[in-house]
Amino acid sequence: MIINHPLLGPRDAQEFTYLGDASLLDRPDWQVPDAAQAFHDYLYLRDNPAGDHRELWFHEQGDRSWLVVTRNTLTHEILNVELARDVAKARRAAQ
């Protein structure tokens, strides 16, 4: 798989390590009353879809940036690559 890094261009997926579903960017609020349940769901439950999946990759052997990669889990086709910090900022702005 080749990941088209927004800053560095096409890079081999081998340069990256994989963390998982990009929903890990949405850390729950620890002060809400059902925080224990929210953290359980956040940490342990996954959609695990067959099809398009937004996921976090870390460019460990490169510029050490975190990326949000949209990839099809049935074909391995990579559809979109964004800097995770841009995604996180956009989400915060939307809230």
Partner: protein, 416 residues
């Protein structure tokens, strides 16, 4: 039809015309007491024990493709009882005991071969961990022997003992571990279940559940609606997809594990060897092929094929342990989709939906579990209580803090 040497001789002299199909090809009925989804090793074993041990009646196994086409026919066939944690080891020991009597029980040659598994150690810390694991195994009725370098050399003189970085300092030998002909496990259980009246229905994909007032009534399938009193889901890599049809999110990610087999060679590796300094394990099949594998591919996937970086990693690790491997040619490689759970341990549990039960999260280690997983899942389906060796495999264990993290890696499936 019972299989025996006498029968084989009789068929040999009469042109093998008397063999009959090992299971019937049946159309689904409208309603069953038990519907098992997934005709892999676990689903078939569940149906078999449900019929044989628990007096279950009117049972169907629904398989979307053909039985044995999933991971039960894709794995590297290793069976063992060498776990450390209390939630696990009694279960795997129960499974190994069932393997030991399986062929007589099924009247089927599954080529169960207890050729021994050797986990190599390369450092003092690994030796300490191996000693601790060995003691835990012995406490749970399994067997373990700690070998020093010379002990390993006697069994496997061709290993790379003096690797500058990872010299072989010994190993934990589990003599009762070994390999089993994986396809024969699916076929043997299918035949045993069928002969006890279980309907094995192939080309029948489950596409939805009918659930009313929190109770499951049956399943929608590509061959029409099938009613059921109880539904057991045992679909390995497809666990999240199938349970999503019941509105559930699971503590599971699907990942691919690759395996490799070389051309046939003369007998060379008598048992199973696992490398302690890289992800690599190897055995030799009775046909002579070296069967080996290593790590999962690390990213979520439902494609039953992997990528080249892991191929390279497995081969490199293999070469650093068994330099002679470089002279063998690779015949085939393939991949299977595994249901990787958040702590690396499985689930055999009820769900919050009445009549819906789940068996999954077996990661890359569910083949060895096949007999016990089938037995324990059947026990749960019949009695609504977990079997005594499977009480820890609960779906709510992350909420209650009772995770079973053999590897101590935390909630990241690709590290288990």
């Amino acid at each position: 039809m019972r299989y025996s040497a006498l029968r084989l001789i009789k068929e040999a002299v009469t042109g093998h015309k008397g063999w009959t199909p090992q299971w019937r090809d049946v159309a689904p009925q409208d309603h069953y007491d038990y519907v098992i989804i997934g005709g892999g090793g676990h689903g078939l074993a569940t149906a078999y024990y449900l019929a044989k041990e628990f007096g279950g009646a009117r049972i169907a196994v629904l398989e979307k493709g053909w039985i044995g086409g999933g991971n039960v026919g894709r794995n590297t066939t290793i069976i063992r009882s060498n776990y450390l944690l209390d939630g696990n080891e009694p279960f795997y020991e129960f499974s190994l005991k069932l393997w030991e009597g399986l062929e007589q029980d099924l009247n089927y040659n599954a080529m169960v071969s207890q050729r021994g598994i050797l986990n190599l150690v390369h450092t003092d810390a690994q030796r300490d961990a191996a000693r601790r694991r060995g003691n835990a195994m012995i406490l749970n009725g399994s067997d373990a022997e700690l070998l020093d370098t010379e002990g390993v050399r006697k069994l496997y003189p061709f290993l790379n003992f003096d690797n500058a970085r990872f010299p072989i300092k010994g190993g934990l030998l589990h003599r009762r571990g070994g390999t089993v002909r994986h396809d024969a496990v699916a076929w043997g259980y299918a035949r045993g279940a069928d002969s006890r009246g279980v309907d094995i229905i192939q080309n029948c994909e489950v596409t939805g559940f009918r659930i009313e007032n929190g109770k499951v009534l049956g399943v929608e399938t590509s061959r029409g609606y099938i009613g059921a009193k109880k539904v057991g889901v045992s679909v390995a890599g497809s666990s999240s997809r199938v349970m999503a049809q019941a509105g559930m999110r699971l503590p599971i990610e699907s990942h691919v594990l690759q395996a490799f087999v070389s051309e046939g060679l003369k007998p060379f590796i008598p048992g199973v060897i696992t490398y302690g300094a890289g992800h690599f394990y190897c055995s030799q099949s009775d046909k002579g092929g070296l069967v080996f594998g290593g790590d999962i591919d690390m990213y979520n996937t439902y494609a039953q094929r992997g990528n080249l970086p892991v191929v390279e990693d497995v081969i490199e690790s293999g070469m650093s342990l068994i330099p002679a491997l470089g002279r063998a040619r690779l015949l085939r490689s393939w991949g299977g989709i595994m249901d990787m759970s958040m702590d690396g341990s499985p689930f055999i549990d009820k769900t919050h939906i009445e009549g819906l039960y789940f068996n999954g999260g077996w990661c890359y280690g569910g083949f060895k579990a096949t007999p016990a997983a089938g037995f324990c899942f059947a026990h749960l389906l019949k009695t609504d209580r977990p079997h005594e060796t499977a009480t820890a495999y609960r779906l709510d264990r992350f909420m209650t803090g009772h995770m079973i993290d053999e590897k101590g890696q935390g909630a990241q499936p690709n590290l288990h």
